[in-house]
């Protein structure tokens, strides 16, 4: 899949990259980070114009993200039918309103595996669209210029950069999952202590 898409990006350039990152923004699992890093290298080699490629990619991916936000936004009623009023949902909603901006920003480039759930959750929890848009654009700018810039910087050795960054994203995701579990254990311990004090 990756190799086929790389060949097509060479052939059709920035417009195709724009379409691919748009589809990726909608949640279709495509190797978009690898394509962005490779596009940086292609720009270095004079195959793609870096400025146009960056602008087209940012606009396309932000449109894709906004569409997936709107899917979450308009499916709120269905989600509420299932979870409405449950303490779990209320806690998730409150937590997302408070910390959502961080997950929106960092899931654009660092932990891209959770970008789609974050988009959907942003819409479903009615996270303000203006804020979503601002953090989305900022995150995607880091993704395109940061990751694409590394591809540009390392040129034909971009595969090394891709290998490191994709594994680093997995490492961060692992730490997040581990942190969530530990946080829950600490909460339980505090709860037990509190009960003992009350008794």
């Amino acid at each position: 899949m990756s190799e086929f898409l790389l060949t097509q990006v060479i052939n059709y350039g920035a417009p195709l990259l724009g379409i691919l990152v748009f589809i990726g923004g909608l949640g279709v699992p495509l190797p978009c980070t690898a394509l962005v890093i490779a596009a940086g290298a292609f720009a270095r080699q004079g195959i793609l114009p870096w400025y146009t490629t960056a602008i087209i990619s940012i606009v396309s991916v932000v449109i894709g993200d906004s569409l997936s936000y709107s899917i979450g936004y308009y499916s709120r009623d269905k989600v509420l039918q299932r979870f409405s009023g449950t303490p779990r949902w209320q806690q998730a909603e409150q937590s997302f309103q408070k910390w959502g901006f961080l997950s929106i920003f960092f899931s654009r480039f660092l932990v891209t595996a959770i970008a789609l759930p974050v988009n959907l959750l942003s819409g479903t929890t009615r996270f303000p669209f203006k804020q979503f848009f601002v953090y989305d654009v900022l995150g995607e700018i880091v993704w395109i210029f940061g990751y694409g810039g590394l591809g540009y910087w390392f040129g034909s050795e971009w595969e090394l950069v891709n290998e490191f960054l994709s594994n680093f994203g997995g490492l961060v995701l692992g730490l997040l999952i581990f942190g969530f579990g530990i946080r829950q254990v600490i909460k339980w311990q505090d709860h037990i202590k509190q009960k003992k004090v009350e008794a």
């Binding site: 490191f164 692992g174 254990v185 909460k187």
Partner: protein, 142 residues
């Protein structure tokens, strides 16, 4: 998540922690290994267009001939001729596809021919200034 410490909840959280540890260990090791591979690989010097590539080991079978031609500064006709393939209809095909279409019995044949053609075509590096025994011309003393 509500503070329910039922055995099911405990098992779920234990599973999440174990999953987190497995993810961290797996991707951490891979990231570390990838980072170590950076050793000795430095970014190319700054400039608008990368200097002409000479390492044919970087050629991959997803690349097209016009792309390789531009990267290695070898005319595309030379590569197409070496492969005995028409440049008109096959310019957008990857080396892998070309191999499957024209040389299905010889795995990696196109990739090898392209590498050999580029190595044969690339001229040896020319020094910036050729040393000479003749001293440079200077203006005569007044």
């Amino acid at each position: 998540m509500p503070l329910n410490t039922s055995s099911g909840q405990r098992a779920l959280i234990a599973g999440i922690i174990i999953l987190g540890i497995l993810f961290t260990a797996f991707f951490g090791m891979r990231a570390f290994r990838a980072f170590r591979r950076f050793d000795g690989h430095r970014p190319a010097p700054p400039g608008n267009v990368e200097i002409v590539e000479t390492d044919v080991g970087l050629i991959r079978d997803w690349m097209t001939i016009p792309f390789i031609s531009q990267t290695y500064q070898v005319p595309p006709e030379v590569i197409f001729e070496a492969l005995n393939i028409s440049p008109r209809k096959d310019h957008d095909k990857s080396l892998k596809v070309l191999n499957e279409e024209y040389y299905p019995d010889q795995d990696g044949f196109v990739l090898n021919i392209v590498k050999e053609t580029i190595l044969a075509h690339q001229s040896p590096p020319i020094p910036d200034s050729v040393p000479t025994a003749v001293p440079p011309l200077t203006a005569p003393a007044p």
